[in-house]
Amino acid sequence: MDTKKYVIKQISIFSENRPGRLASVAHALGEEKINILAFSIAEANGFGVIRALVDHPEKAHKKLSSMGYNVAFTDVIAVQMKDHPGGLYEIAKVLGDAGINIEYSYAYSGKKAAVLILRVDQVEDAIGKILSSGATLLEHTVFH
């Protein structure tokens, strides 16, 4: 099974936890005509990590790096959620039963229904388990 097409390249940006940092990142991406499709901020004491799915990850990486930001690519997967009670439970149970750990996740409202972005410790396994459970994964071409 070709699992590669379900692997989505997320960009992660190290940021100090102070006013104006997100604006600076967002402004730079806007200038480059890069569209942000989904994003989240994780914060720890004094610093944070901005995570985003964008339509041109390489271009975003180049631009932000040139501005001095610490930028990294991270592989994530995107699950099309069913819009009914228990939808999240189904996905979480599939992964939990398979011993796959969710390191973090965030959601965004996709074109049809909500989409759950997942960062897991075993990407290939997770893709297999989710597909065989009958759930839908978005391909990376949806994003970039």
Partner: protein, 433 residues
Amino acid sequence: MQYWDPRIEEMPKADLQKMQYKLLKSLVCRLYSFSHFYHDRMKAQKVHPDDIREISDIRKLPFMFKQDLRDNYPNRIFTATQEELVRYHVSSGTTGKPTVVGYTQKDIDMWSTSIARGLTAIGLGRGDVIQVSYGYGLFTGGLGMHYGAERIGATVLPTSVGNTERQVELMQDLEVTAIACTPSYLLHIGEVAEKMGIDIKKDTHLKAGILGAEPWTENMRTRMEKWLGIKAYDIYGTSELSGPMFTECAEQNGFHIWSDIALVEVIDPKTGEPVEPGEKGELTLTMLQKEALPMIRYRIGDISSVDEEVCPCGRTSPRIKRIQGRVDDMLIIRGINVFPSQVEYTLMTIPEVGQHFQIVVERKGALDDMLVRVELTKDAFSDKITDLMQIRQNVEHRLRNALNVAVDVELVEPGSLPRFEGKSKKVIDKRAL
């Protein structure tokens, strides 16, 4: 009026100078003959012991710097053999190398005597209970005060630093009359006591604080005296001189520098020339009787002035005024000397962070808080918050080990810290002293 050594403490100025000249002359003769370090230094300066004919001839002698102690780590300047030493103390170094100070029995005796004179001058003696809340160990504060307090026949309560609630209980239960610690630690003790519902002013016998190892101000003195109902006295010293050594007297107007123990000069740090009498400059001390680690014209780095007038308390030795600053960038955090170069040196050994850094010192409540901002390197960046937390904890741990003082670390973006050409300003000290 109480004196510990009335003969020395009240000796007329002219006699003190004669005594100082004799001690200096014999010191120089001894070191020229028995110390490679001083012999070579004096040769290089083209000065011979015969050139020392009066006390002002001390200006012909070369200076000594902290760097000399570092370069001669651990004991190459010692003029006593290991068999003659009864103790070592070690202070943190500026670039990872600490400074080692050795003591003969006579060195310990002179140190204790110096403190004994000071404690007597502030009215302490047999019958007093002195709580020593300086750190015991490699740091000179704890053991130094301990021996001085025992010397005057006081009862010592060696609490060292920490476990503050217990310190307050013991202060109350054992009827402590005086405490020796850093001024910031006394403020902390006062706050802890308040939280415990104990009013140090009313509920304890505390009447005096001997406070040193970090700079403090007249404002702090007034505040502490009023709040705690005590008299607060400053004490001066550094490990190179032995440790905390010279206290104020009951007049609270400068440290008495006992003339048989030390000769103090005030110089212009740029030219090395003496400043006008009473002007401020860099303190330079010559220890006249030290055996194991002799100090001639040692540039301490502290800025102050000297008052040669006989003190209203009757003591004739000169007095150093309150320390007004440093000629270098040394910081004192919770009584511990910290040089920014130590931080730099430690960071260089941690690949996850860059070499640029910024130190921010604040006083939160009574205690100093030191924050070090470091830049996360590109290779070390991980998308996982836990990895980043780990890096931060590691840097905190390494700095704590190197500096002997707790440090908070903040990870910042690469390139975000200010870069400096020439003299950098890496320290932001927000403490209102």
